[in-house]
């Protein structure tokens, strides 16, 4: 099957899992922090993203904990997930670099 494109929420969820495994709400909090408050994942949206990432083997369950009688399932980034995130990050950085370059040229009067 053709790999699905990585959407912004999926990109941020993968990024949130780079340093350590996190549970659902922990991921939502980290995504909000990473995006400067711009992306606030609803729980339904978060689990839709996690389902897709798990189906593509980019994340996997790490462990389960029970806190105050509530189940917390932690997720971790897989090696494949790290590779996919890196490829996407390089692609985005490349695009951003080209955009900045062109804008500089424009400001310098090099482009109409």
């Amino acid at each position: 099957m053709t790999p699905r494109p990585i959407t912004e929420p999926a990109f941020l969820v993968l990024t949130a899992l780079v340093d350590e495994p996190r549970h659902g709400y922990g991921i939502a909090q980290e995504v909000e922090r990473l995006s400067g408050g711009r992306v606030q994942l609803k729980i339904g949206t978060l689990y839709g993203v996690l389902d897709r990432l798990a189906a593509d083997a980019l994340v996997e369950p790490d462990r389960e904990e029970v806190r105050q009688g509530r189940l917390r399932r932690y997720y971790r980034l897989t090696d494949e997930g790290a590779r996919a995130l890196e490829e996407e990050a390089v692609r985005l950085a490349d695009n951003a670099h080209r955009a900045v370059e062109r804008l500089r040229l424009r400001q310098a009067g090099g482009l109409a």
Partner: protein, 374 residues
């Protein structure tokens, strides 16, 4: 359990039981962690609409599963996606019919009909322009079908909704019937098609991307059928004008050529095709495949057509007026009732075929281009 938790668990019931069994506890936990951060009494809080919308969207995606989903959810998703495609094929045919009628009526092809015979508004007037655009707008169904089979779900959805709404926006009289309820019921089959398209093709279930020539054929066949129907309707109209008062024999064909009548004929044809092909279907029934089929898997045609039968029955019933007096009114009601009975028979047959053909995704598809699962 707090009131908020109870409310959230009620919202989660939108999700299938199998999904809840896997996810409910951790979703509740994540949700309540977020609610606690708000630092108000959990019994005073309500589940916000955005959270409910998030769960509803997830429920829709899960229930109408794509490739890789559990077999039951995949079969439901395929049935809804099949209904969208079959509906689009039908409305593409009708779009071509309406557009060709508009072209004939308003003399875009000069001299086909006597000028001004049926046209509304003076030539060149804004009203005439509105009528012509309203008549041509249903061609957007063809654009929707074309975009879908080329893998562009977003364009297909936008075109379908535009095809549905624009004729009414341009010409409010297009709704027909006395009052908006009758108009809504008449538009129900097209509305169900647009809804099936919108809900069925989501991020986890992208549409097939057919090669250009195959996609063109999928669109061209219903367009050609629509144009032929328009010519037949034109010929009938000419015969009616020549013969004066329409008799029962002249009226009969008209009663099968309105949208609900044509939907009845189309569903009869699909049902007959399925019944005749049943032995072949049974022989090729397989479990859900790992990859997405290009168009409608033939095993999904029966449930897809069954879905479309429901709004067609409602639309046909909405146009019946059993109390109307007069011979011709009686004939119209009689033919309408016959169509209703045929539609109900189709519905029962299609449901029976769906139940008796397990493993909904069979091997071949309507365009004959689907890959054979290994």
């Amino acid at each position: 359990m707090s009131v908020l938790e109870e409310r959230y668990r009620r919202v989660l019931r939108l999700l299938p039981a199998s999904y809840r069994a896997r996810r409910e506890e951790e979703m509740v936990s994540a949700f309540l962690d977020g609610a606690r951060r708000a630092e108000t009494d959990l019994d005073d809080q309500r589940v916000r609409w955005a959270e409910i919308a998030g769960v509803a969207a997830l429920a829709l995606r899960v229930r109408l599963g794509g490739p890789g989903s559990p077999p039951g959810e995949y079969a439901t998703g395929e049935a809804v996606r099949g209904a969208a495609i079959l509906g689009l094929v039908f409305w593409t045919m009708l779009g071509a019919l309406f557009a060709a009628q508009t072209v004939l009526t308003y003399g875009v092809v000069a001299g086909v009909l006597p000028d001004g015979l049926m046209g509304i508004g003076d030539p060149g007037s804004p009203e005439r322009l509105r009528q012509v655009l309203s008549g041509l707008a249903p061609l957007l169904w063809a654009a929707s079908l074309g975009a879908l089979v080329r893998g562009r779900a977003g364009t297909a959805k936008a075109s379908a909704w535009a095809a549905l709404v624009l004729p009414y926006a341009l010409d409010p009289g297009a709704a027909g019937g006395p009052g908006w309820i009758a108009g809504l019921l008449t538009a129900l089959p097209a509305l169900v098609t647009a809804l099936a398209l919108t809900a069925g093709f989501h991020r986890d279930a992208p549409p097939p991307r057919l090669p250009g020539a195959t996609a063109a054929r999928v669109v061209a066949v219903p367009v050609a059928a629509g144009v032929l129907l328009a010519l037949a309707v034109g010929a009938l109209g000419a015969a009616a004008r020549a013969g004066g008062e329409p008799g029962p024999l002249m009226l009969q064909p008209w009663l099968w050529l309105d949208p609900a009548g044509l939907a009845c004929v189309s569903l009869l044809a699909v049902t007959a095709w399925l019944v005749l092909r049943r032995p072949a279907l049974r022989a090729s029934a397989t479990p859900a495949p790992a990859s997405a089929p290009p168009v409608v898997a033939s095993g999904s045609v029966a449930p897809a057509a069954a879905i479309l039968t429901v709004p067609t029955v409602v639309a046909r019933a909405a146009t019946l007026h059993p109390g109307a007096e007069g011979y011709l009114s009686g004939l119209i009601t009689l033919v309408g009732a016959l169509q209703l009975a045929l539609l109900l028979a189709c519905g029962v047959t299609l449901v029976a075929l769906t139940v008796r053909t397990p493993g909904a995704a069979a091997r071949d598809d309507l365009t004959g281009t689907r890959e054979q699962p290994g």
